[in-house]
């Protein structure tokens, strides 16, 4: 019911919206909850487990009941708290967890079965048969219990992540937060003031307090106007500070567009902020506790603070005939506000025997509400007094069990709150978050005057830490009323008294957990699911804990709290992942030949973040093998071209470059002649192979190292570590130039012919022998040429600055094709290298040594190097180690499979008789058979023996002959010719 003359809504701006298909009207400034209450719609949802009818309980982000689905289609958002959703023209909301309708929900039958559905019910009941766990029980239970659902389609909403930095972050813009921000702002500090509501002011908007003789909200607006005028203050509304992390880092979520249907292109729905603050002030306020009594969950029963908020902020009376129940002086404030607004107050039930009386309304002292009735909304309550029970008709009960300071953020870094007996609540333990000062209600100081005072003090503390001088600021005049709480957690009696409204946990459930020896608060929580819903027990944890403490005969401080973890309130996964989906998660790196390769229909495969062509299909070729075989033959018979730019290229310069390379490679590089290339092997310090590649000496103090594509980043880090950490005195420096050079392999007997005429010099074996390198001009462009080969053929790699890559690639293709050759992709490259027994990371997979791959002699005995000492451990060179060999199939099956294991021919193929495994296989068109590289126990000593390959997964057994891993041209004549 809307009350004339009350509220901070704009009555000149009516806003139409739809709930469950019915059109309603509210005003600008309304939330979905306040607008529905104004329209007398008390029923807003169904409970999680028992499908009980529920109305709104609170007026803030802690709301457990009024969860709704907003919108439809890809942007549909479930579990939106009606208390946080501002209405806008076109808003469409739907109730959840009901079928077929909110009013008539078939699954409310669960409620009748409630005696059987208490804590531990699922664990005890759905035990047999085990095969039913995942297939029958879980799906059925999930359907019956639950919240809203996503659309199942890709969300088209945009989310954004952003950083902010400040001297002081003030969390919460109630009286304490406003005062802290004002104090720090006037001192010249860079301040961010964040508040989860769309309007700043906190409880000042929800109460009728006066500050300095002005209504609280007017005072708040004046302070905000001053803050807005300061360049050093930034106000962030609709922003929930959700987590406190190390070194002053905070997570915050700004709901940028939830309050409007307008979704301008490019604007985010939400922004995930990482705020780095030198200091912080927590002024997060407090949350009111409901009281547990029989059937305390009917629509119409809500917290007293929420009743006042709806009345004072939104001009809505939650009922026409209101009753009030509680244990603090707060409840009398509720009665006065309602009476002033012309709402009838049927009775005030104060559990305290010494409660103050009033001449304006009836106060029942020492009384308790012990039950309620009404089908889909409250109709009456039962009040228990020493003289007996009495029924009072009412459509709204405002209840309070006291207030819990919002200590959450102070516990995110492992802090534990402190119990304060005088207010029956936990307060933050000072120093829980370094640099954070606490002010106001979240510190257990509930009066407006105390909030203002502590706001000034907290800012002063922060300013001192920042080295700024606090301005002289007068404490505004405000109420300093007493709180006077007496314990009231649960009203004794039969029936179900609800604690956790969102997860349907009752007082009985908690007591039962204690009876069944789940006495630790963490055990009780998990057994009953208390506090495990999306509200994380904001309304119920302390009461549940108090009941557990009572049931186990301990005090509350000894019982302790469960752990508060971020986020403070739910955050969409989309906000967490902002910027990290799709290519943001995995960037794509393209070579300069990418477009040309795709234009030739090459399937592109991933190599790290790079994309490389798998093969280049020609018209008429129907399988990848046909293309691959042709490409291999072209290289062996004519010439092939392949983009090898993705290999890591590290430019190394300095007088000590050679010395440094001697230390990171197993073999010598200081002795390498200028204009020559050498193959190098790099070990990890534990003696295993890390990476391999060629390094060219371009000048006296200038080397260019090549790494494998996959290990480029790792090797760069390694070089920097070895230099900075182990030999900082060496004068050498590195730069990755992988992306600066486009590099192409030109391989095959006609490679020299292909290149002739492209360069400023003639290539012959004398000036350009195998493993030569140097500067060349490529059609007038300064480039580099390396006579190196990964195919075993006479080959070159030619490099030009990346901007010339695409056009050089086109020229190379044209020339290769004219010579009867062409492009080759990764498949052919792999075949060519297996035929030659060249290793890749399939072989140097982190568990093989130089000895294992047949390169033991490459570990120079003339010098120390990374990994050398550990590589000499006896176990790494002993007999029986699995070492690199080649395999050829003999016998009926001709199939080799990578990953398959090797056994002696007559042995049973079981783990204990394992002799090794295959790492790389291919069909060799050159040898017209499958071939493979493998690690076999004592392999090189067993050439000519027959072993049995067994692939247990695919069920293939093949007899193989052990051969030298260099299948083709073992003398290496072709590469030099």
């Amino acid at each position: 019911m809307r009350i004339n003359g009350k509220g901070l809504i704009d009555r000149s701006k009516p806003v139409p919206f739809v709930f469950d298909g019915i059109s309603y009207s509210g005003f600008e400034g309304d939330t979905l909850a306040s607008a529905l209450l104004a329209n007398e719609q008390r029923l807003m949802g169904r409970s999680f487990k028992y499908h009980r009818p529920r109305g709104v309980l609170t007026a803030g982000s802690e709301e457990p009941n009024a969860l709704m689905t907003v919108g439809s289609g890809p942007t549909q958002e479930p579990n939106v708290r009606a208390t946080m959703q501002e209405i806008y023209p076109g808003l469409e909301a739907r109730s959840q967890n009901r079928w077929p309708s909110l009013n008539f929900d078939l699954l409310s039958l669960n409620d009748l079965a409630a005696p059987f559905l208490g804590a531990g019910f699922y664990y005890k009941t759905f035990m047999w048969p085990k095969s039913f766990w995942e297939k029958v029980y879980e799906p059925a239970i999930r359907r019956a219990a639950g919240l809203g659902a996503l659309s199942g389609r890709d969300n088209t909403d945009k989310y954004e992540s952003a950083y902010a930095f400040c001297d002081l972050l003030v969390i919460g813009a109630g009286p304490a937060g406003l005062m802290a921000a004002l104090t720090a702002g006037r001192a010249g500090a860079d301040v961010i003031l964040a508040d989860e509501s769309n309007r700043m002011g906190g409880r000042l908007l929800a109460e009728t307090y006066e500050i300095d003789g002005k209504p609280g909200n007017v005072w708040a607006d004046e302070v905000l106007a001053e803050l807005k005028s300061m360049d050093n203050v930034r106000l962030m509304t609709r922003t929930t500070v959700a987590g406190a992390y190390d070194q002053g880092t905070f997570a915050a979520v700004e709901r940028v567009l939830h309050h409007t249907e307008r979704r301008p292109n490019g604007a985010p729905l939400e922004t995930y902020w990482r705020i780095v603050a030198k200091r912080s002030v927590l002024a997060a306020g407090a949350l009111e506790r409901p009281v547990a009594f029989r059937d305390n969950d009917r629509p119409g029963i809500m917290t007293a603070g929420a009743v006042r908020a709806y009345l004072n902020r939104w001009g809505v009376s939650a009922g026409r005939n209101v009753t009030i129940f509680g244990n603090t002086d707060d409840i009398h404030r509720t009665a006065r506000d309602l009476l002033d607004a012309g709402v009838h107050v049927a009775a005030v039930i104060d559990s305290r025997h010494d409660a103050p009386l009033s001449k304006d309304y009836q106060v029942l002292r020492g009384a308790q509400v012990c039950g309620s009735s009404g089908r889909k909304g409250l109709e009456s309550i039962t009040v228990r007094r020493p003289s007996g029970e009495e029924r009072i008709h009412t459509d709204c009960l405002a209840m309070t069990g006291g207030w819990n300071p919002s200590v959450h953020l102070t516990c995110h870094m492992n802090g534990r709150p402190t119990w304060r007996r005088d207010i029956e609540a936990f307060v933050p333990t000072p120093g829980s978050v370094p640099g954070m000062s606490i002010a106001g209600a979240c510190n257990g100081s509930f009066s407006t005057s105390a909030c203002l005072r502590e706001g000034i003090a907290a800012a002063g503390e922060a300013l001192e830490g920042l080295g700024l001088t606090a301005p002289d600021i007068a404490l505004p005049v405000a109420e300093d009323a007493s709180y006077e709480i007496t314990q009231l957690w649960a009203v004794p009696g039969k029936g179900r008294a609800w604690l956790d409204f969102q997860n349907d946990v009752t007082v009985k459930d908690v007591k039962q957990a204690a009876t069944e020896n789940f006495r630790s608060v963490e055990h009780m929580k998990r057994y009953t699911t208390q506090g495990m819903a999306t509200d994380q027990g904001k309304n119920s944890n302390v009461a549940a804990l108090a009941i557990l403490a009572d049931a186990t005969g301990r005090g509350i401080p000894e019982t302790g709290t469960t752990t508060f973890r971020p986020p403070y309130s739910p955050i969409a996964i989309g906000a967490y992942g902002a910027g990290a989906e799709g290519e943001g998660f995995k960037p794509q790196r393209f070579t300069t030949s990418h477009k040309a390769s795709v234009a030739r229909n090459a399937p592109m495969i991933e190599a790290g973040l790079w994309y490389r062509p798998s093969y280049f299909p020609k018209t008429g070729e129907t399988t990848w093998r046909e293309s691959c075989d042709r490409e291999v033959k072209q290289v062996r018979d004519a010439v092939g071209v392949c983009d090898v730019s993705t290999l890591g290229k590290i430019d190394i310069q300095g007088p000590d470059a050679g010395k440094f390379l001697d230390f990171v490679y197993t073999n010598m590089f200081s002795t390498l002649k200028v204009g020559r290339v050498r193959y190098g092997l790099m070990l990890r310090e534990d003696g295993y192979v890390m990476d391999d590649g060629t390094t060219a000496r371009l000048g006296e103090n200038h080397y260019l190292m090549t790494t494998t594509t996959a290990a480029a980043g790792e090797v760069m880090k390694h070089l920097e570590f070895v230099h900075q950490g182990l030999c900082p005195d060496l004068d050498v420096s590195f730069t990755s130039v992988t992306e600066q050079w486009a590099q192409f392999a030109v391989a095959g007997p006609k490679s020299r012919e292909l290149l002739s005429g492209l360069l400023d010099q003639t290539l012959d074996d004398e000036s350009w022998p195998f493993m030569a390198c140097g500067q060349v001009e490529v059609l007038g462009v300064k480039g580099r040429l390396f006579r190196i080969s990964f195919s075993g053929e006479h080959a070159y790699e030619i490099a030009v600055p990346a901007r010339y890559g695409a056009s050089l690639f086109d020229i190379l293709i044209e020339r290769a094709e004219a010579l009867g050759g062409g492009l080759y992709g990764m498949e052919a490259l792999n075949v060519l290298r297996i035929e030659k027994g060249f290793i890749t990371h399939a072989e140097i997979h982190g568990r093989t040594t130089a000895y294992d791959i047949g390169m033991g002699r490459m570990v120079s005995q003339k010098k120390d190097c990374i990994g050398k000492t550990m590589s000499e451990r006896p176990g790494l060179e002993e007999a029986g180690r699995e070492r690199l060999v080649g395999l050829k199939p003999i016998g009926e099956s001709r199939q080799l499979l990578a990953g398959a294991h090797l056994y002696n021919e007559e042995a049973e193929p079981v783990r204990t008789s394992d002799q090794g495994y295959i790492t790389s296989v291919c069909y060799s068109p050159t040898l017209e058979t499958m071939i493979g590289l493998a690690f076999l126990a004592d392999g090189p000593d067993r050439e000519g023996e027959v072993v049995k390959m067994v692939d247990h997964l695919r069920g293939v057994t093949t007899l193989c002959e052990v051969v030298n891993p260099v299948f083709f041209d073992p003398e290496g004549g072709r590469v030099r010719g």
Binding site: Y163, Q247, K717, F721, G725, P728, M870
Partner: protein, 87 residues
């Protein structure tokens, strides 16, 4: 978490790559013996308290940094360049 790079200043920890204990800087001589090498390559303390470890400013200047921090409170006590921290 924030780490102060001696070159770049205070930065978010996501700019850094974590390696492990700063023991990695204390490479023994090749002939130091099995125990010294075993300690260096494999054995690490797991302190509840002050620890020194190596971070690489991969998203920044490329410096290897020794960070002295408290594993219990997460307090960062000191950062220095590995090239200067080498004992």
């Amino acid at each position: 978490m924030r780490i102060t790079c001696p070159h770049c200043g205070e930065r978010d920890r996501r700019e850094f790559y974590y390696r492990g204990a700063a023991v990695d800087l204390e490479r023994p001589a090749p002939d130091a013996g099995e125990e010294a090498w075993d300690n260096f390559v494999y054995l690490r303390d797991n302190p509840a308290g002050v620890t020194r470890d190596l971070w690489y400013h991969e998203g920044g200047c490329g410096a290897w940094i020794v960070v002295t921090r408290d594993t219990v409170t997460h307090e960062v006590l000191k950062t220095e360049l590995a090239s200067e921290a080498k004992s």
